[in-house]
Symmetry: C2
Subunit: 486 residues, 2 copies
């Protein structure tokens, strides 16, 4: 077998050039955030900045362009760039929920399905969608990889690769883990039909009906549906809008209750966008290890970070095989191909067996296509572009919200992904808002579908994963008026 | 929308030509089976037959070639064709099991997994395999369809087709149902990750843990694994080697026990190869309807019939939505693509929702590829060739078994598929036989993995789905010696 380095993912060739202007933009943004540069204040001219900070004028220009797209600064004719009035914190952060855990039977599935059914119309402005726009993915390049892979596939491959998955694909995934600091034996990796299957399998090997599972509040609605389906009880742990779940509440819950598994997103949590700090992740791991409670780490947005470096998952601390780390290519490369995986820790064998009894295997050609693309398609180049686009679009939606939504509205500012979480004034009912919006051809994901107890009635998740245009802007303006009508 | 007929599956263009010699061969075979033509007897010469029966000499010649391949007749130099000594019934049919139902907790999964793991070596003679040889499938033509489909796929398709599945594919499947006599509203059809997912979903919507499910004995081992996983109890109904489950036993069980679902294969039952008659299927439906017990009809071998016409499934009698009919392309066209479906009857909506909560969707490109192939690839032509090949190979394995296995061995002669079920003399232990065989590079599927109570110890399922060659013949001879050694 060739050494692992032979197939190392392609070097980050454009990285240096991109880094410089992004780094400079971040420094300016930091000055704005911490109030050094106040709203209305002029930012250094291009010439001045270039001289003072030792960067090229084009780097400064690119950085300002980025900051403008992110809604932090704006150009005034013949005067240069100024910090936007709404820049420092255009809308405030939402409040954290009650600082205690709630244990509850889950009964939200019908509501979720009826809301999801209403979101299916492809002609609406897709603020309610769970996916970024498919236009952001290299589907034509993938199609070439698919053509290549299926033409060259030895016939036996269609039946021999059905247990743990395509070996080239598993190897590429393991290499990406390695590059991002997680050493993972190939044996732990099982390819699944998207992350959704992986998460279902993990939960089933870790629990039996009636068990308690610690989850986030708000949580991804599918989490709630799966718990309901498997007759599990949710222990809802509140999520801080920036830093993720409240570990004190989790600790107290683990001491008080016979929790059998913890299922959460440590990075770019859906719907709220929170990402735990490295220290917090380590503390979480130690806490779970002390109680010997397995963690199901849903990391489907792993690649969509706007930060300099890819944050390490909780899995990077795992020496005991306690963490089942689930992810997929559905949000980063190949929506609809339905290829995900789990690094299953000490549960890997059980997960593989359970998969053989339920779906046997994800599509063999789809696996081969992605394996080919990872080796030859330029995944890292695509990801850099994707992150850049999403960051721009986040800025555009934030700026638009600051223009059109009531000033009391609160909003998150996640360091990646493609969702914003809005907390509207108390009297706003987001389920009613959805009905009003749908009538105008706009979708959104209302707060109650993210809670086992149907809280977050005045909240909504909005998707900025589609190119920002006049239609998006008009939709935000309309939404603003509807919100005020409550 | 164009009329359904615009997309009718391609007319059976070669049918007439093929029919004639097959029809003639069947008539001769019938004479052999009923003892009109005894072993050792000369069959009519080509010239004589051509004159007497009004068919062309080439039709007679083709018919005799087919009968030779099926092991019924053999050529003697300069003397013409003779009925083989072993032809009338080369080996006897196996006995039916005890004529009563047994209710049992299922605990066979570990045994199945350890046996399956031992079958993975691609260099063994694959008598134990669950698949026909992948060489029998038009994988290159499918690859063209895949290339075509993914290049032309509108980006939105990758996220819009994730609920019930690709509409062209569902339409093609519904048309095939229509042509074979089952009128099916499109709404009932849900595309799944192979039939395995479909079967899992059906069982889950029809039962809760602890429920009783009527299944066959012997049954496909995955049936047993799924019951075990879902904590369901099996009511094992004995299967007659030719006619399928014993309806009297089923009736008595339905009256006596609170059975919540019935899961069976009415056609080419795995492992025994039995097919229920049309009358029996109707009686089964009426019985289940009277007790309002849903039927999960696993019909994955639907296309692999050797009979003149495609037998209608129990589903064709269904007016109440009581039958969930599951099938796939894995055994007929596209192994490894993992595309199956269920016609879910009144359970369709529940099944669709459950699928959204577990795997969301099977691979969108794989669905599009098969949809393209069904429209343009010549599926019916491929199927005719596949059936013909399998029928030839069945004859070759039957003839070889008659040559090499002890005379007391009993064997089924299914009217399709690619499995034979052997009942060896009482003292043969098929799990030990498997170990001996694996040591010689031969695999087989031992009887106990097909039973919740690990019966059928002296039985085995042998796969004739690979081209018959000297290696196959030598393997049968070796197996014969091993069987005698017990």
């Amino acid at each position: 077998m060739p050494s692992t380095l032979d197939f190392a993912p392609q070097a980050l060739s454009n990285e240096d050039r991109m880094k410089r202007y992004e780094k400079f933009a971040d420094e300016i943004a930091e000055l704005v955030r911490t109030g050094v540069l106040a709203p209305g204040e002029k930012v250094p001219s291009v010439r001045h900045a270039s001289r003072t900070y030792g960067v090229s004028p084009s780097t400064v220009f690119q950085a300002y362009y980025l900051l403008e797209a992110r809604g932090l600064i704006q150009a005034r004719a013949r005067s240069g760039y100024f910090v936007r009035e709404s820049a420092k914190r255009p809308l405030h952060e939402p409040d954290i929920g009650p600082r205690m855990a709630e244990t509850t039977e889950v009964g939200v599935s019908d509501l979720v399905f009826s809301v999801l059914a209403s979101l299916g119309d492809p002609d609406t402005v897709p603020f309610g969608s769970a996916f970024p726009s498919p236009e952001l993915f290299p589907l034509q390049r993938l199609a070439r990889s698919m053509g290549q892979a299926v033409r060259e596939m030895p016939p036996q491959q269609v039946i021999t690769e059905m247990t743990r998955g395509n070996p080239d694909l598993r190897r590429q995934i393991a290499l990406r883990y390695m590059v991002s600091g997680v050493m993972l034996p190939m044996d732990e990796l099982i390819i699944t039909s998207g992350a959704m299957e992986a998460l279902n399998l993990c939960l089933q090997v870790a629990t039996v009906p009636g068990d308690l599972v610690a989850i986030e509040a708000p949580a991804f609605y599918a989490t709630l549906q799966v718990l309901e389906r498997l007759k599990l009880k949710a222990v809802e742990i509140p999520v801080h809008p920036r830093e993720g779940i409240d570990l004190d509440v989790l600790e107290e819950s683990l001491e008080r209750l016979p929790i059998k598994a913890c299922w959460l997103m440590s990075h770019l949590q859906n719907p709220i966008g929170a990402s735990m700090t490295a220290e917090k992740k380590e503390r979480l791991y130690r806490l779970l290890q002390r109680h010997d409670v397995p963690l199901i780490e849903d990391d489907v947005y792993a690649e969509l970070y706007f930060t300099k470096e890819r944050p390490r998952p909780v899995k990077s601390h795992d020496r005991k095989g306690l963490v089942m780390h689930c992810s997929s290519f559905s949000k980063s490369l190949a929506p609809g191909y339905r290829i995900g995986w789990v690094a299953g820790g000490r549960y890997a064998e059980q997960i593989a067996r359970l998969k053989l009894m339920t779906t046997i295997s994800p599509s063999v050609p789809a696996q081969a296509a992605i394996a080919d693309y990872l080796q030859h398609g330029g995944f890292d180049r695509h990801l850099r572009k994707l992150r850049h686009t999403l960051e721009m679009q986040q800025g555009q939606m934030l700026a638009s919200a600051a223009r059109h939504f009531p000033a009391e509205t609160r909003v998150t500012r996640p360091s990646g992904g493609y969702f914003l979480w809005f907390e509207f004034p108390q009297q706003v009912d987001s389920l009613q808002l959805l009905q009003l919006a749908l009538a105008q051809g706009i979708s959104l994901a209302p707060g109650p579908i993210f809670s086992a107890t149907q809280r977050f009635r005045n909240c909504a998740r909005l998707n900025y994963g589609s190119p920002w245009d006049g239609r998006s802007e008009a939709a935000m303006e309309l939404l603003g008026r509807m919100i005020r009508s409550f």
